[in-house]
């Protein structure tokens, strides 16, 4: 388990740090963080028990809407998290 989680993380640090990438690869890498985060988020927010659920049974989706607005307007992570948690607590209450 340790090996399969460490190898994908450590090997790029050895192999790719010492080389300079061609410009197109650098442009590609610039998009990786945004793409990775979006790919991690979407299923968490939209899938509920294995399918896309935008009903009241999936509060994550509804709570994410005000959270998105706060994140977009303020770019403040702490405020975003506070609003997100607060909204979910209110919805569940």
């Amino acid at each position: 388990m340790a090996i399969v989680t460490a190898v994908p993380r450590v090997v790029p640090m050895w192999v790719f740090s010492r080389r300079t990438f061609p410009p197109l690869v650098m442009i590609w890498l610039k998009y990786i963080p945004v793409a990775v985060i979006a790919a991690m988020l979407a299923p968490q927010l939209l899938l509920h028990e294995g399918r896309i659920d935008l009903s009241a049974a999936n509060p994550y989706f509804w709570v994410s809407l005000p959270t998105f607005v706060v994140a977009w307007k303020t770019k403040n992570i702490f405020l975003t998290v506070a609003i997100g948690i607060g909204c979910l607590a209110i919805v569940r209450f």
Partner: protein, 200 residues
């Protein structure tokens, strides 16, 4: 969670220290619970962790000047949330070595410490979700996502990655649902940016 299916305290902490991959640990507990054989758990974990390959590759140019042992340790501690945070910092040119190491170390120590607390307290707090705390991680990712988005093309890339991730997850390919969408969406983003350059 570990406690509920009879994993010992020592095993839980050991796993947090050595494997250090929250989603993988939760995945492994789930597969153990489902009675899956060990090799398939390890394979699923490997596929699931291929996304770190992308994250490490993306961070690597920023730490190129560090000595190799530091890069090794740094790579070992790459995690979803710290990756997102450091991407924001690096993209703003605030790439202080001490800060980056501090982020990773704090996350590592906190993870192990809270595994311990979680294991011990798991039975004391009946329903932590009632307070909305389970939304902390998605909310952090949402906040970081908006800090990273610099232009419209990035919004499109994010939407594309999100859509692909949804489709893959929905059809049971959860292990691939970060790696594949991220690569494809980033290729499209880079392609469009390059195309625009040549036509402007």
């Amino acid at each position: 969670m570990a406690r509920q299916i009879g994993v010992s305290l020592f095993e839980t902490i050991f796993m947090s220290l050595i494997v250090y991959a929250g989603s993988s640990q939760i995945l492994a507990i789930g597969l153990l619970q489902a009675g899956q054989p060990t090799p398939s758990i390890v394979l699923a974990t490997f596929l699931f962790n291929l996304r770190f390959f992308l994250m490490s590759t993306s961070l690597a140019p920023h730490v190129a000047k560090w000595p190799w042992w530091m890069r090794t340790l740094f790579g070992y501690q790459v995690a979803d949330e710290s990756f997102a945070l450091l991407s924001v910092k690096f993209s703003r040119g605030e790439s202080h070595q001490n800060f980056a190491i501090a982020v990773h170390m704090t996350a590592y120590v906190a993870w192990s410490l809270f595994s311990l607390i979680g294991y011990l307290a798991g039975s004391l707090i009946p329903n932590i979700n009632r307070w909305g705390l389970d939304f902390a991680l998605p909310a952090v990712l949402i906040g970081l996502l908006f800090c990273l988005i610099q232009n419209r093309l990035m919004v499109v890339v994010a939407a594309l990655a999100a859509g692909l991730a949804l489709i893959l997850s929905k059809y049971g390919l959860k292990e691939w649902a970060v790696m594949v969408p991220a690569v494809v969406a980033a290729v499209c983003g880079a392609g469009v940016e390059q195309w625009k350059k040549h036509h402007s």
